[in-house]
């Protein structure tokens, strides 16, 4: 079954471009140019995946984060939660982190190739996280992994475990999940588990860098 997708972006040209690229692989059931329209379209159509621009007009002025918080708890007809994938040109780490912390399952840049975008949508639909190299870089920076801070136990929320750090580094180097799996001699499923765990830490951690980003965006 192809994924039912809603496109949220304030540029009509971009929406039609993405729609043309994705036409065969997914079903685009709705589009919206701003926060308020997005929330009503998503509530109405209850799609599997929402492709969400980080910067959007309307709402409380927090762009994509407002859409995610405004649609909290929404479920598809199959009973899965409606999932969000941030799709943006934004280079600003705090904007990206804010959308992820609001509940998006991943972040990819708009320069992504159509095939990669389709596989990212499938992955998000299955409940996995999607990390672009850039997001992996942000994560490594934000958790101090570059400076050598490593969690003693995997459950520690404010640091990455050694394995998670390895996975993030490989993603930052431009490796696909299956390449990461091969490199680390683990299964793709395990890679996905690690990535999801990093996503969870990213959303739940109270690490001060993350908190200050979130504070700036008035999320806490």
């Amino acid at each position: 079954m192809t994924a039912r997708v809603v496109l949220v972006d304030d540029h009509r040209m971009f929406r039609s471009g993405v729609k043309a690229e994705l036409d065969d692989a997914v079903t685009v059931v709705g589009e919206a140019p701003d926060v308020d329209a997005a929330i009503s379209v998503i509530r109405q159509t209850r799609p599997d995946v929402v492709l969400l621009d980080v910067h959007l007009p309307g709402g409380n002025g927090n762009g994509g984060s407002d859409v995610v918080t405004g649609c909290a708890g929404l479920q598809t007809e199959a009973g899965d939660p409606v999932r969000f994938l941030a799709l943006s040109v934004s280079d600003a780490a705090e904007d990206v982190i804010a959308v992820i912390r609001a509940g998006a399952r991943g972040y990819v840049t708009k320069t992504i190739s159509p095939t990669d975008l389709i596989s990212a949508i499938d992955r998000v639909q299955d409940g996995d996280a999607v990390f672009s190299p850039r997001l992996a870089g942000f994560v490594l920076d934000a958790f101090g992994a570059t400076a050598g801070e490593i969690a003693e136990v995997d459950e520690e929320l404010d640091r990455l475990s050694a394995r998670e750090r390895e996975v993030m580094r490989l993603i930052a180097r431009g490796y696909q999940y299956k390449e990461v799996a091969k490199e680390l001699f683990i299964s793709v499923k395990t890679v996905e588990t690690h990535v999801s765990s990093v996503l969870r830490k990213l959303q739940l951690s109270s690490r001060h860098e993350l908190t200050s980003w979130a504070m700036q965006r008035r999320l806490l």
């Binding site: 040109v89 280079d91 600003a92 320069t111 190739s113 190299p133 850039r134 992996a136 870089g137 490594l140 920076d141 992994a145 570059t146 400076a147 050598g148 580094r169 930052a172 180097r173 431009g174 490796y175 390449e179 091969k182």
Partner: protein, 423 residues
């Protein structure tokens, strides 16, 4: 000049007015003047009969006190360039009729004449005429500089009640001051009386003029804000013109060459993003910025997009510069011989920096490696070796990856060391 500007503004606001009396600006016409056109100008502006005004003026000049007033108006009234922008008054309906003009004018003449003759008779009386003269001049000056809209506002604000109270208080104050001045005695107490009188007069005038002063500063502030905004807008326009518009024009001309178009678009995007989200810290002299710059150079040179991800940063240093050089060579190789997407990952840790350059080419057979490529690789590895680092080339299932590792002695700055000691 200021006066000229006022005439223009006055004209504009006159024509903008729909209701009420249309009042030509207070200016000396070039035609129909007898001496300097003061009377003609005042007559047009106030709508008083010209002949009667001239008679009163002539008498006042005979009495001497009209002379400074006439001279003052002559000096301050701007000369109107052409015919009035609006029609003069409809004499029957608005303006001041001849009888009313004489009703006001004759007492003025009498009082003025008495004051002047009094002033001539005794120098002490100057303390009475001088404040009167100053107040009169001030009022005329303020009145003549006000725009029509401002004048109306001054006379009748939106809140009529407030205006009336303000006017009454102002007039009472001024009168009290005058009475004090008039009833001044002699000797030591007189000085105090005069001071109090002058203060009360000033207070009255201040209350009368307060809304105008407030409005004046408001206007000034608004003008300043607008000027700043205009400057900013001009800056943005100039920048967009020099960068984005030029690129768009280039893209239109090269629409048949997708690669060139993509390259132009990417370069422009990078430039615009830099401009919009420019970081406050100086961008040169750090390892991360040097790597980003090298990547964008390669991108521009070869027309293949390069994705850069950087974590951590530090001042560049000599070893860092060597790393950037080697990275640049590796990147050039990747875009020339590999296939996109090409990506760079730089990780700056506490003791060393690691860089990865990855492409998605078909890989290569070592036997087929051309001479120049081997040479380049030699220069990458040789350079890294010389600075105590190392370089590895790995063949992946899908492409090639160059790994550059460079130990960097004594990390970063004193501040960081302090921070580490504390934790």
């Amino acid at each position: 000049m200021c006066g000229r500007k006022w005439v223009r503004l006055g004209g504009v606001s006159e024509t903008a007015r729909v209701d009420g009396v249309q009042r030509p600006p207070l200016a000396r016409p070039t035609e129909g003047r007898v001496v300097a056109g003061v009377c003609a100008g005042v007559s047009r502006h106030l709508g008083v009969p010209l002949a009667s005004l001239r008679v009163i003026t002539a008498i006042s000049i005979v009495f001497l006190f009209g002379l400074p007033v006439y001279a003052f108006l002559w000096l301050t009234m701007p000369q109107s360039d052409g015919p009035a922008l609006v029609n003069p008054f409809d004499r029957e309906h608005s303006g001041i009729s001849r009888s009313r003009l004489f009703l006001i004018g004759i007492p003025v003449l009498v009082v003025g004449g008495l004051a002047v003759s009094g002033a001539i008779r005794s120098v002490a009386r100057l303390s009475l005429t001088l404040p009167l003269l100053v107040i009169g001049i001030g009022l005329v000056l303020v009145w003549s500089r006000l725009g029509t809209a401002e004048r109306r506002q001054w006379i009748s604000a939106d809140d009529r009640r407030e205006t009336r109270i303000r006017t009454v208080i102002g007039i009472v104050m001024a009168l009290m001051g005058l009475i004090l001045l008039l009833s001044q005695g002699g000797g030591f107490g007189r000085l105090r009386d005069v001071t109090v009188g002058v203060l009360v007069v000033l207070l009255g005038v201040g209350i009368l003029g307060a809304p105008f002063i407030a409005r004046f500063f408001d206007t000034l502030r608004t003008e300043q804000t607008e000027r700043i905004r205009a400057t900013e807008k001009a800056d943005i326009a100039a920048h967009l013109h020099d960068s984005v518009l030029q690129t768009l024009a280039l893209i239109q001309r090269r629409a048949d060459d997708p690669q060139a178009v993509q390259l132009l678009a990417r370069a422009q995007e990078r430039e615009l993003r830099n401009w919009l989200y420019a970081e406050q810290a100086p961008k040169d002299a750090t390892l991360a910025s040097a790597v980003k710059e090298a990547a964008s150079d390669i991108e521009t040179l070869h027309g293949i997009p390069v994705d850069v991800v950087v974590t951590g940063d530090r001042p560049i240093g000599e070893a860092g510069a060597a790393l950037v050089q080697a990275l640049r060579e590796a990147l050039a190789n990747a875009v020339r011989h590999g296939a996109p997407p090409v990506s760079v990952y730089l990780e700056v840790g506490p003791g060393e920096a690691e860089a990865f350059v990855r492409d998605h080419g078909p890989g290569f057979d070592p036997a087929d490696v051309p001479e120049d490529r081997l040479g380049v690789r030699e220069s990458i590895m040789g350079r890294m070796d010389r600075h105590g680092g190392e370089a590895q080339v790995r063949r992946l299932d899908d492409g090639t990856e160059v790994r550059l590792r460079m130990p960097l002695p004594e990390p970063t700055t004193v501040d960081d060391d302090n921070a580490k000691d504390e934790t």
